[in-house]
């Protein structure tokens, strides 16, 4: 019975050593075993190709509007029809994807770099400094990201760059917490003591010994950050505070299209939504699979 299996699996009774596997090998195994993760990875590659290579194959004008051609259903000239100012919808989907992916990946990168540094320093130094640094994290975390973004968007005019910064500066909080927790547990390990004895200074210890061991946790989190960022930007656009046209992004396209839900212009409503869900789901599946794999590794330490 299934429950049996699961409970039996729990028992680590034997001394017969299960071979310890390296992190990279483990990650590779994840993709080989978890079909969902593998499919997601392939899907993401396809999406990236669609967004960045697509426009070179399927040329459209995304700068000049053409009102007389607005809201056309799919045809040979426009494979997914046109939107309310005449832009080709399929082409806009590709270009919009570029923006959405750039902002999401950029924000995740900013979040990871800043968060890892903050968390590692805080965890390593410990004591009062750690206390203060973590309370700051808690304070910013207490404010819902959307609230903060709305506020910031109300003050500034969003562009790709500012969005990356803004989303990234909100997203660094979770990696910081995770890395700090790992650092706390790592800094008492013997090999850290060994480096100290060898005369290694704090910077060396943090950068070359502690941070690399948090890669697993950080990688998992970064994947989720990308997924969250895409949704956040979409929500912002929906609320009218995203990047203004002619720049495109999926969230903006979706919120635009929603004005026409009852007009039956399905090509304005579904494609951007589907792209968002598809991309976000893939990143979530991958992150989830990675998390399963790394948690197991942590247990076997």
């Amino acid at each position: 019975m299934a429950v049996d299996m699961q409970i039996a699996e729990g028992m680590q009774g034997t001394e017969e050593a299960v071979p310890q596997e390296g992190a990279l090998r483990l990650a590779a195994d994840v993709f080989l075993e978890n079909k969902l993760a593998l499919a997601s990875a392939i899907m993401i590659v396809l999406i990236v190709l669609f967004c960045f290579v697509g426009p070179h194959i399927y040329h459209t004008d995304q700068i000049h509007t053409n009102i007389s051609n607005a809201n056309q259903p799919p045809s040979r000239a426009h494979l997914l029809g046109t939107d309310d100012v005449g832009y080709d919808q399929l082409g806009r989907l590709m270009v919009g994807g570029q923006t959405s992916l750039e902002v999401a990946l950029g924000a995740a990168a900013v979040a990871v770099v800043f968060g890892v540094l903050w968390g590692a320093i805080s965890g390593y130094l410990g004591g009062l400094v750690d206390g203060i640094m973590m309370r700051v994290v808690d304070a910013i975390l207490a404010i819902p990201a959307l609230f903060l973004l709305l506020f910031l968007a109300a003050i500034t005019v969003p562009s790709v760059g500012t969005l990356i910064l803004v989303v990234g500066l909100i997203a660094w909080l979770i990696p910081a917490r995770l890395v700090r927790a790992e650092t706390l547990s790592l800094r008492t390990r013997e090999y850290v003591e060994a480096v100290k004895v060898m005369g290694g200074g704090p910077t060396r210890i943090v950068v070359r010994h502690i941070v690399p061991n948090t890669i697993g946790t950080v990688a998992v989190n970064a994947t989720f950050q990308v997924a969250d960022a895409i949704l956040l930007v979409a929500a912002l656009s929906f609320l009218g505070l995203g990047i203004p046209p002619p720049a495109a992004n999926w969230g903006g396209m979706l919120s635009n299209g929603l004005n026409y839900t009852y007009s039956g212009y399905w090509w304005l409503v579904y494609p951007p939504g589907v792209m968002i869900v598809l991309t976000v789901v893939c990143f979530n599946f991958i992150g989830d699979a990675l998390r399963d794999a790394f948690e197991v590794r942590l247990r076997r330490r």
């Binding site: 049996d4 028992m11 009774g13 034997t14 001394e15």
Partner: protein
Amino acid sequence: MTGEQAPVLEVEELQVDIALRRSTVHAVDGVSFSIGPGETVGLVGESGCGKTTIGLALMQLLPVGGSIVGGAIRLEGRDVAALPEDEVRKLRGDRIGIVFQDPLTSLNPTMTIGAQVAEPLVIHRGASMRVARGRAAELLELVGLPSPTKQLDRFPHQLSGGMRQRVSLATALACEPALLVADEPTTALDVTTQDQILELLARLRAEIGMAVLLITHDLGVVAGQADRVLVMYAGKLVEAGTTNRIFYETRHRYTEALLRSIPRMTTSREEALYSIPGQPPDLSRPPRGCRFAARCAYSTEECLAEVPPFVGPPEHVHACVHPVEQATAVGSQSQVAP
């Protein structure tokens, strides 16, 4: 000793395989022994030799991937290896009790001591929790826990390591099993506590008279507690006999090496500690002949050709082609540290 009364446990040519991701480990390869009522049998060997696997196999508690692929396990006459899961479940905790190595992780952190000790009685005797807890208090007293009734409502983390191990013992004994399996019961404890637990075991054996299978890598533990000793190496038994004979009339070269590697009070400071050179064989591809031959100073072609048979009188058998000669047995020369 064994003989007139029917044995509590009879293991016959037991074979256990563990399926790993890329290979299959033959963890136990044809092991046979028996335990009579009231007997304490020590099963010794280094890590990875398969002794814990045997202990788990007795209760069909092998981890995922592990399975009994041959042989029989007769507990009070019934072949446990052939029984379906729900039949085996009735025996677990009732006719056979087990104490594990790590007392902290073996206990449920969010359940009271009383509930945990009482549980086997609730499961197997249909007792209500209230009644079972009363019996649990008696059991806790039996294992030497101070203020037993107070302990009933405490949680594992509130007890010391030694106390927790007593709790584990009490739980294993709750239904008065015919056989107690103790898997490295003292390894996770400090030396003083080890002594206390071993003393407790001895006392319980005298008072209750149950059979005990004591699994350990520590020969000192075995010396003080066991009536008979089984020495295991790389999935097979290599020597079996009464404790005295194993220690003072050692025959198998592996047992000899094991005894030699115990640090002694009499060893001078300048002498290096003896350790057996080499590594145990890979059990996914076991060697044809004697499994210890690769590390044995006395091995010859004959040893590598095929597995040596057991020879010797029933109360002391060994499977070695070039055993220790009587006069030079290590144990007879110097004191074995307890």
